[in-house]
């Protein structure tokens, strides 16, 4: 059928395709893994984007085969290469022999504008030469045309980038290799920033992912899926740090304690109008505060802790009231005794 295949055959072959992991279960669920021949465009805050690229690289090395990592910027301007220390640490954490794994990574970078212009040819040759390359990672694709000293119009740069991105995608599609491309973000007309590289790159990408640091802390990243042929656009939060569990985060004990005290204050607002009770409560809060260090191992206040706290507050109040009653009675008895003695 001259190039046409039946949908069923294509479906069956897609079932046998090995999707590469991103190194994060949540992202794998969101994206359905990294499938051969597709272009994944990742943009947003530089740190999470870089972190994700490195994790994808490690996962591909774990899966076997080789990987190519291409830096589109000019080294003389950028002064940065692949974060080898971070990569080695991750490789060791993944149980891979770092030296052996690093031998399976091709790093391509340019030291001049001419070399930048030749990067795409370089990677096409590499893919043709080495069939063991199973992944191509490209950092900051827009720098291919923005980072060199050659002066040309904005339109010419944009067209150059179009050509480069298309050739890159064609080379990877022909070899059935997933292509992950990163770029910086720029302000868009909508709520979310848009990727650099113009409308064409957005059309060319099969999947577009926007990453930014979550408000919950440095370890958390929010990923917005903006384009996917089979998934509805949505947002997930993830963390690539192995010691952080997304969805079960434990707030610091002090924060938890202060929240609980504030809540108790509100709940027992009426009871604490009584001065004695209020003093008792404050004394208790102080006592509990001094115990913070000892209690910092606890995840948060349990229900029993709360009940105990409430009971103790009330008991202290009752005791104070009883003591006052006793004092009143004692005074009353004293007065009566004095009256009897006078009588």
């Amino acid at each position: 059928m001259s190039g046409f295949t039946r949908g069923l055959d294509r479906f069956l072959s897609s079932l046998g395709e090995d999707a590469l992991s991103t190194g994060c279960d949540r992202l794998d669920l969101l994206l359905g893994g990294l499938r051969p021949g597709r272009l994944y465009l990742v943009y947003g805050d530089p740190d999470p984007v870089e972190e994700l690229l490195i994790h994808i690289l490690v996962e591909s090395l774990r899966a076997g085969g080789r990987a190519a990592y291409m830096l589109c910027g000019n080294y003389r301007v950028e002064k940065t290469l692949l974060n080898v220390e971070g990569l080695v640490r991750l490789l060791e954490e993944s149980g891979l022999a770092a030296e052996d794994a690093l031998k399976r990574v091709y790093v391509l970078c340019a030291f001049s504008a001419d070399q930048q212009a030749g990067l795409i040819d370089e990677i096409s040759d590499l893919l043709a030469r080495d069939p063991e390359v199973r992944l191509v990672l490209v950092r900051d694709i827009a720098k291919l045309v923005t980072d060199d000293a050659r002066s040309r119009s904005r339109a010419a740069r944009s067209q150059e980038l179009q050509g480069a991105a298309l050739r890159l995608k064609q080379a990877c599609a022909e070899r059935n290799v997933p292509l992950v491309v990163s770029c910086r973000s720029r302000r868009g007309r909508g709520l979310l920033p848009m990727p650099e590289g113009g409308e064409f790159l957005r059309h060319l990408a099969n999947v577009i992912l926007y990453l930014h640091r979550s408000g919950r802390g440095a370890a958390y990243v929010r990923a917005h899926l903006l384009k996917h042929p089979a998934q509805v656009p949505r947002t997930v939060e993830y963390s690539l740090r192995r010691d952080v569990e997304v969805g079960r985060s434990t707030p610091p004990f002090r924060v938890s304690f202060e929240e609980t005290v504030a809540r108790l204050r509100k709940e027992f607002q009426k009871a604490l109008v009584d001065r004695d009770r209020r003093e008792a409560f404050e004394a208790l809060v102080e006592a509990w505060s001094s115990e913070l260090g000892a209690m910092s191992y606890a995840e948060s206040l349990t229900l029993f802790d709360l009940m105990l706290l409430a009971a103790v507050v009330d008991n202290r109040s009752l005791i104070a009231r009883l003591m006052k009653g006793f004092d009143d009675l004692r005074a009353e008895m004293g007065r009566l005794r004095e009256r009897d003695a006078e009588g």
Partner: protein, 317 residues
């Protein structure tokens, strides 16, 4: 009904010439009649006088020349329409995607172009009484976005046998513009042999934009694009099939208010496509569709939704 090009159909034309034509993909009289002589020469390798003779004979048999408008109207009754899955979207298209024409879907990334194509690839295989075209679907996938698993999901959520749908779907991955030309050329044979009723090209412009860089290459790019579109239109008209192509947008920086995007492909694209539908993102999973150019359809805007079923009507606000 198309007449098959067989020895003896064209009086005075040798068997070898017929064989050459068939090898080049011309298997109906209509396809020969609609092809320019120059193209016949290029693709079959026959001499120009023979090509002129073949073309003339085929045209005489197929096309009677001027006909009364009433007859044209009668012919229009053969036209079929394929549902997109959303009755509102069908409404602005005059009842669905029509045969004998090119329908162009334009929009920025994530505006629902591919989703409409994938839904059409399911609905077009349904019988005409259920809103389909009752035939197979050929897809030229230039961006590697046509996912069979999504087609399965759409079919299953519509209660349609997914295996049957996948069997009736012919997909070709396209790697460059030359490959696109080859695939388009092979369509005429595919349409007759495999009973294809809908051809989808997603996207039409992608490779052209990336391969022909610079103003100096604009003219050859547009010529090649125009040639591809004209072949598709010829195929749509001669075989009475529906053709759907997707088109990208490009930003125009000098627009201060309103939508800065405009369709790519210039006038060539605009003139070749019969109906042009512009898609935009809406709230949540909804999309807005507007007919921006059509000889018969009014410029109306509707909202539709993208769900598990592919494309369907959006809930009322």
């Amino acid at each position: 009904m198309a007449v098959l090009l067989e020895p003896g159909v064209l009086e005075g034309v040798a068997r070898t010439t017929i064989a050459k034509l068939r090898r080049a993909g011309y298997i109906t009289l209509e396809s020969v009649a609609a092809t320019p002589v120059r193209e016949l020469v290029e693709r079959t390798g026959m001499g120009e006088p023979t090509a002129v003779k073949v073309s003339h004979l085929a045209r005489m048999m197929v096309d009677p020349g001027f006909v009364p408008a009433r007859e044209v109207l009668e012919r229009r009754k053969d036209m079929m329409r394929c549902t997109t899955g959303s009755s509102r979207l069908d409404g602005i298209l005059g009842g669905g995607v029509e045969t004998g024409a090119i329908t162009e879907l334009i929009g920025e990334f994530g505006s629902g172009k591919t989703q409409i194509c994938m839904t059409l690839s399911v609905t077009a295989q349904q019988p005409p009484e259920e809103g389909g075209l009752g035939g197979r679907v050929a897809v030229i996938d230039t961006e590697n976005t046509f996912l069979p698993e999504r087609v399965v999901q759409i079919a299953e959520s519509r209660g349609i046998d997914a295996e049957k749908v996948l069997n009736g779907l012919l997909v070709a991955r396209c790697y460059n513009t030359d490959h696109l030309v080859i695939l388009i050329d092979s369509l005429s044979r595919l349409v007759e042999e495999q009973r294809v009723r809908l051809v989808i090209v997603d996207s039409m412009i992608g490779h052209f934009r990336g391969e022909y860089i610079g103003r100096e290459n604009l003219a050859p790019r547009q010529q090649k694009l125009g040639s591809c579109l004209s072949r598709l239109l010829r195929l749509a008209e001669t075989s009475n099939i529906a053709v759907v192509v997707t088109n990208q947008v490009q930003a125009t920086p000098n627009v201060n208010y309103g939508d800065p995007n405009k369709p790519t492909g210039g006038h060539v694209m605009g003139h070749a496509c019969t109906h042009r539908v512009y898609l935009r993102k809406g709230k949540a999973n909804t999309r807005l569709a507007r007919v921006i150019d059509s000889p018969s359809l009014p410029e109306v805007r509707v909202r539709f939704a993208i769900t598990e079923k592919g494309v369907e009507d959006a809930e009322e606000e």
